[in-house]
Every structure is written in structure tokens, then in C-alpha cells.
Symmetry: C2
Subunit: 104 residues, 2 copies
């Protein structure tokens, strides 16, 4: 996963409504009109959010007739979680001495 893909994933996650959508999808696949009922945004706005979530790879889309069904892309979420965990593992306890100059 490239650096750019990573930031676009975090961008996709950094909106209150989109987080709500993901949490709603945790209970299983949902169609857009159901999600619309859960939020306080208009239909074009929901469509916009779903596009961002789908394009980033956080949700999968399945179209059937008039309906669009969305579901969580677990692999992507797990990959992100793995990245964050790796980032939290500080390789060595490297505390700089308080009296040393750090900048030369």
C-alpha cells in the first residue's frame, strides 16, 4: 500500500457521517436508501460519501436492479489497522539526553 493510498484512506475515514455509515454497515450489507434513513443528509450527499468510501476501497458495492448494496471491505480496514500497529511499535527507546544539543 502506497503512501498516497494511505492518506486517502484516512481522509475517507475523517468524516463523522462516513464513520457512522461504516458502523452501520458492521451489521451487514445495506442498500443506499436504508443508509439514507440513518443520516441527516440529503440523497446527493450520501451518494457523494458512498463514492468516497467505495473509491478508497473501504466498502464494496454490489448493484442489483435499481438498488446499490454496500458492505465493509474488511481486508482494507485490517490492513490499515496493521499499519497503525506497526507505527506504534517504537523500535528502540531513544530518549535524547536533556542536556545535549539535538541540532548538529
Amino acid at each position: 500500500m502506497t503512501h498516497l493510498e494511505m492518506t486517502s484512506l484516512f481522509k475517507a475515514l475523517s468524516d463523522d457521517n462516513r464513520l457512522r455509515i461504516l458502523e452501520r454497515l458492521k451489521s451487514g450489507e445495506k442498500c443506499a436508501c436504508v443508509l439514507l434513513g440513518d443520516l441527516t443528509v440529503g440523497q446527493p450527499t450520501l451518494s457523494h460519501h458512498m463514492k468516497i468510501l467505495a473509491d478508497s476501497g473501504l466498502v464494496k458495492v454490489r448493484k442489483s436492479g435499481k438498488w446499490s448494496y454496500y458492505s465493509i471491505a474488511s481486508e482494507t480496514l485490517q490492513a490499515l489497522a496493521a499499519y497503525l500497529n506497526q507505527l506504534s511499535e517504537i523500535s528502540r527507546e531513544c530518549v535524547i539526553d536533556e542536556n545535549s544539543d539535538c541540532c548538529r
Copy 2:
């Protein structure tokens, strides 16, 4: 961790330079002037980014004399990773029948 805190964490992570800073901090505590050398932004911009990272709880600050030392706040990163993992665990395989109407 509240919903609002969560989105502010993701917001803090959704910038290329801030991700770079965190990856740089993975090798241990660094002072601002060192981080400045790693990026292609001016000093006020770095200061701005560090404030966002610190306020969100992703990094810890230690001040000593003229210098500010920054380090990764592992707990926060791990909490976020746990949240993402929990989100990826779909409770039941709930695929809606293709021929059913979803919206009533």
C-alpha cells in the same frame, strides 16, 4: 473514545506530511528542528502540524530549554487500530436476497 475524538484522529492522520512525521518518529524521539530537515515545508507549517498531532493525542511533547521533543503516543495508535479491527469484524454474513425489496 468518543465519535468526535475518533474523526479528529483520522483527520490528523490524513495528511501526507503528518504521516511522514509519524514514520520518522518511529525510530524514537526527535526535536522539531530535526523533523524540519526531513520535510519540504517551512518552520511555521511544521509547528502547525505538530500542534495538530499533539492536540489529537497522536504524539507526546517534551520541552527542554529551547527545544521541543516529540514522540509517538503508542496507546492512541493502538486504540485506533483496535477500533478499525473491531469495525472489520462483520457480525453476521448478512447478504440480502437479490430479489427482495430492501426499502420497506
